[in-house]
Symmetry: C2
Subunit: 213 residues, 2 copies
DNA sequence: TTGTATCTGTGAAATAAATCACGGATATAT
DNA sequence: ATATATCCGTGATTTATTTCACAGATACAA
């Protein structure tokens, strides 16, 4: 399949909205509501959804349950995926215990750190390991996603190890940019860039649009 | 000024690269290097930079120092801005003490929580306040940016209060989408959406492109 | 039952963005 | 000194994405 990049981004956000609508037992949602929630127009939402081949109901909108199901199936967002966190400092341990990930289909099944000290002190119900065990554990547990929360200086080396160990996707929380082979799906969660994006828009007063993390 | 949205996003990321290049005392950087770092092509980088009116040097690239200075001035990324964090739980306290923000020009000058208990127990050098004081403190300290780290259920109410108190930009870490008036610059840092974006790209094998947070 | 206000679905048109392609410069090597 | 490999700058071109516009549908109100 070949979807616009922006569509993929929006669909992932839409999926999150659907999740919360489903919880609140809302039956139908209009393109307009979704548009407002994720910051775009109803035209765009309808186009996105129609690209995915899902149809709604006149005068009612989309069935929350079945839209979620369809989007989930098409983009395999319904598939459970395993992830690990590398770097168990302040941010890494917060993420380790963030239960929401599991509910959203991403199960954190391992944490890694290179400090034995840290490893001994951490209290969490997730298994934590020395960095030297990474390759084994990732293979053994079939971990697909690596989340990087080590200091900036170590981000590239950790990325290289994760890739060597076999992950397919990387989410990087360090402020340092990482270079990966093109078959690896990689995304930065750079908080400073996000704040800068907001600040820059104070100047260039354009309409809000979704921004791919 | 009226820059493409994507350009703004990329420039913010480029700015981060320049920061680290500057630290490492690198004098020049090519469009190709920057492209690789942020995941795009050299054409696009050159176009972006030329839209900002900055020029480089044949056969050498761009002067790291002066490119950073120019981008900083044009998009006011060099201006120091004050921010506050609302919700001092696991994530909020980690962000509160994240020194890098200050170095990047975003100074966290206040934290807010509605639990007196939490407020008393927190140890940090940043001033923390009860939520009831928010309006006063934000005005008094001229805080422009609000960072939301409260549970999803409370995100909208906190956003409303932040806006009422006068912030111009909001960065939301809760998974719940928030609706804001269009003059407020707003961005989600939705970790689950980011993981989904990666997962979705396992399926739709497109080239990596930058994704606006 | 009849109107009317919504909503979707979708080609067409308009915008926006990315690529291409190549001229002009100039470090660097020989 | 000359050749060569880079690297920028930028119109032109192509591609991608959004927006428009309007034809169905149909819930809902009167
Ligand atoms: N703390 C925040 O709020 C925050 C916010 C945004 C970004 N970040 C970024 O996230 C990353 C982590 O931040 P933090 O505050 O948690 O830092 P931290 O120093 O508290 O934690 C880093 C952890 O990584 C471990 N580590 C270092 N090198 C390693 C390696 N090679 N292999 C495995 N583990 C290694 C350390 O032992 C430590 O436990 C940093 O890059 C930081 O810039 C943090
Ligand atoms: N912990 C993580 O790693 C993580 C990761 C991604 C997203 N998030 C999101 O970030 C948010 C915070 O997560 P957390 O784990 O830190 O939660 P937490 O429960 O540890 O902290 C939430 C804090 O917000 C305060 N609070 C609640 N309602 C408030 C209100 N109306 N006004 C002011 N303060 C209020 C609480 O007292 C508490 O201190 C949540 O929305 C969560 O989904 C967290």
């Amino acid at each position: 399949m070949d979807l616009p990049n922006n569509t993929i981004d929006r669909v992932c956000r839409i999926f999150g909205c659907l999740e919360s609508l489903e919880e609140r037992q809302v039956d139908f949602v209009s393109s307009k509501d979704l548009a407002q929630a994720i910051g775009t127009t109803n035209d765009t939402i309808r186009k996105d959804i129609s690209l995915l081949g899902v149809t709604g109901y006149t005068r009612k909108g989309y069935s929350v349950v079945s839209l979620k199901k369809e989007l989930g199936q098409t983009l395999k967002l319904d598939k459970k995926r395993k992830a690990c966190i590398v770097g168990l400092g302040r941010l890494g341990t917060a993420l380790l215990d963030y239960e929401r990930f599991k509910q959203d289909g991403f199960e954190i099944v391992a944490g890694f750190d290179n400090s034995i000290n840290k490893l001994e002190r951490i209290k969490t119900h997730i298994d934590v390991f020395a960095i030297s065990e990474m390759e084994n554990i990732i293979a053994q547990k079939s971990i697909e996603l690596g989340i990087i929360t080590v200091p900036a200086n170590n981000a590239q080396e950790v990325a290289d190890e994760l890739i060597k160990a076999g992950v397919s996707g990387i989410l990087n929380f360090s402020p340092e940019k990482i270079v990966v082979p093109k078959e690896i799906i990689y995304l930065d969660m750079d908080f400073t860039s996000a704040l800068r994006f907001i600040a820059a828009r104070f100047i260039t007063n354009k309409l809000r649009k979704s921004r791919v993390a």
